[in-house]
């Protein structure tokens, strides 16, 4: 199974996002590097709006991710509620 990843800047906005991603994807592994966090996951990775909202206590638009996003791999599927990264193989 190939790995996908998402990399985010390390800051106050992303702290809860990273926490939510790790909670929703128990198979994901966070790699902390200077000023950034890279989350690797076998097969696929999901970013769920509701989990982030629960942690930050306000509405969150998944497109806000763009502000602190560094990079990602895999096919992207985005809806109002979830952003999913995956490979077909």
């Amino acid at each position: 199974m190939s790995k996908v990843f998402i990399a985010l800047q390390t800051n106050d906005d992303t702290r809860s996002i990273i926490q939510a991603i790790l909670a929703d994807n128990p198979h994901a592994i966070a790699n902390e590097q200077p000023a950034m966090v890279k989350i690797d996951a076998e097969g696929s990775l999901v970013v769920r709006r509701s989990s982030i909202e629960e942690l930050i206590g306000r509405d969150f638009d998944l497109q806000e991710l763009h502000i602190n996003l560094i990079s990602l791999t895999g096919h992207v599927d985005e809806t109002d509620d979830e952003l999913t990264l995956s490979w077909n193989t």
């Binding site: 190939s2 800047q9 763009h66 990079s71 791999t73 985005e78």
Partner: protein
């Protein structure tokens, strides 16, 4: 009783449908073929532009909103950096030379990418890719601007930043990144998208931005970290566009496969060659190192690229050509490139040095198969010679590869003691290449590459001297005349870091920042 009326809001998919697809139309006064004259000549067959999927479904209104937010963050940090003498917080003034290389060699490419996406986007009959290209074109000009703004803080204090625009079109090593982009923007719109959108953005830019920018943070350079991450926040969208382009083209018609495969082979190799500069920056120019070039290559190319090409295999795509050579080269290219710049430091707009003992130990640990055997002895020898007063600056001109324009510095795959040369006879001339990859790219489009503006050839033809200079005059110094033409100040911008004005100033200013003198 109050009744709660929820505001009817469009979902992401509907909004994208209305605000992107809904903006296109079939032209009637002029035929679509006349309005989009470059859409067919490359041989790519598209039957239904509506099959285009933009996974992020970003519309222009949201685009402006998020980009504005990024700009506010960016300038707040850049102001703080300038107000706080941020340039004195970097680990070591040698580091600043990596940033010079960035401004001179990479930032102008952002501007060229801006032009390229504006041009390619204009040429696509489908509205989906047109809007995506418009956004990317705006992103790229933003990157050029934010990089120039942040690095102008360094230009106030250090040498070598002053004429990046002028130098891009003249200085020998800058023809490498420049010709790479010239090649891409003079291709058709589909090839441009495969070249820059897919091969460069998807397959290769992680190597440039992720470890290098994280390395800037590690070396205390808030300015570079900020423009780097601000640019990167757009990259995820660019990468997604690049992948979408490939899938879309391949799904439209089976005849597109061989054309796309040839472009992937060509542009992965072209981009890989340009990244030699980045490898050298990571291994030699960051005083505090974050990961080696080889490690970055393994994570971002072998692992991610491997997953990508495995996925694309269902369309019949195979991994890019020449990967076996790339695999062998990863132990060598950064060392070979640094050696060449050290040799030609008299003709550079940044400083060079021999790594310290600690740094050499780091390199042998990261490159157990190559560093101690091939590169350490050479560096130590040069260090000894410099100590004895024999620092040798090479003043003769190197042979360049006709395709990538890099001096012939790479070795035979599998034999790091033998420089690799390839040649082709074409229409009464002999052309030289650094590799099988560059040779084959030439052979596929010789009429394009015989027009290359090769800095060394241009110097020999007398085209790189200021007006009025007489190369036949007694005592004519060709190097001095070329440096004048480059607007490069001898003794300030070039030569070794040791003894440079930058080194002295940084030490003096850092002293002033920490003591009451």
């Amino acid at each position: 009783m109050d009744m709660k009326v929820s505001k009817k809001k469009l979902g992401l998919k509907e909004k994208y449908q209305h605000m992107t697809r809904g903006l296109g139309w079939e032209t009637t006064y002029q035929s679509m073929d006349e309005v989009f004259p470059y859409a067919k000549y490359e041989g790519i067959k598209i039957h239904d532009w509506d099959k285009w999927e933009d996974p992020f479904r970003l519309t222009m209104d949201s685009y402006w909103k998020y980009q504005a937010e990024k700009e506010r963050k960016f300038y707040a940090i850049i102001d703080a950096h300038a107000q706080n003498n941020g340039h004195l917080s970097v680990t070591d003034a040698r580091y600043i030379n990596a940033v010079k290389l960035f401004l001179n060699g990479i930032s102008p490419l952002e501007y060229m990418a801006h032009r390229g996406f504006a041009h390619a986007g204009r040429q696509f009959p489908g509205v989906g890719p047109r809007v995506a290209c418009l956004m990317q074109s705006l992103d790229e000009i933003r990157h050029a601007q934010t990089q120039i703004h942040s690095l102008s803080n360094y230009n106030k204090y250090y040498n070598g930043f002053h004429e990046y625009r002028h130098m891009l079109e003249r200085v020998w090593y800058l023809s490498v990144p420049r010709s790479f982009f010239d090649d891409a923007i003079t291709a058709g719109p589909f090839e441009f998208m495969v070249a820059i959108g897919f091969s460069f953005e998807y397959v290769l830019t992680n190597l440039l931005f992720v470890p290098f920018v994280s390395g800037a943070a590690y070396n205390g350079d808030m300015g570079t970290m900020t423009f780097g991450f601000s640019a990167q926040s757009d990259e995820a969208r660019h990468m997604t566009l690049g992948l979408e382009v490939i899938k879309f083209i391949l799904e439209q018609d089976p005849d597109n496969l061989p054309i796309v495969q040839q472009w992937i082979d060509k542009w992965t190799w072209r981009g890989y060659r340009v990244l030699t500069l980045v490898g050298m920056m990571m291994d030699y120019m960051l005083p505090k190192r974050i990961m080696s070039w080889k490690e970055a290559w393994e994570v971002y190319f072998e692992e991610n690229g491997g997953a990508l090409f495995k996925d694309l295999a269902r369309y019949g795509i195979r991994p890019p050509k020449w990967l076996d050579q790339i695999e062998k080269d990863k132990d060598h290219i950064s060392h070979q490139a640094w050696a060449v710049f050290y040799n030609y430091a008299a003709a550079c707009n940044f400083h060079t040095w021999i790594p310290t003992d600690d740094e050499m130990d780091w390199l042998s640990q990261k490159y157990p198969n190559s560093f101690d055997k091939y590169y350490r002895p050479r560096l130590e020898f040069w260090r000894e010679e410099a100590k004895k007063g024999n620092r040798f600056y090479n003043k003769t001109l190197p042979m360049l590869c006709q395709t990538c324009q890099i001096p012939m510095l790479f070795t035979e795959p599998g034999d790091p003691t033998q420089i690799c040369y390839r040649e082709v006879d074409y229409k009464d001339n002999k052309y030289h290449f650094c590799s099988d990859g560059c040779k084959e790219i030439f052979e596929h489009e010789p009429e394009k590459y015989i027009q290359s503006w090769l800095p060394v050839h241009q110097i020999y033809q007398g085209n790189c001297f200021n007006e009025g200079v007489d190369p036949t005059a007694e005592g004519f110094d060709p190097l001095a005349a070329v440096l004048d033409y480059y607007h490069l100040n001898f003794g300030r911008d070039n030569l070794d870091f040791e003894g440079s004005e930058d080194q002295k100033n940084f030490d003096a200013w850092r002293g002033m920042a920490t003591k009451n003198t």
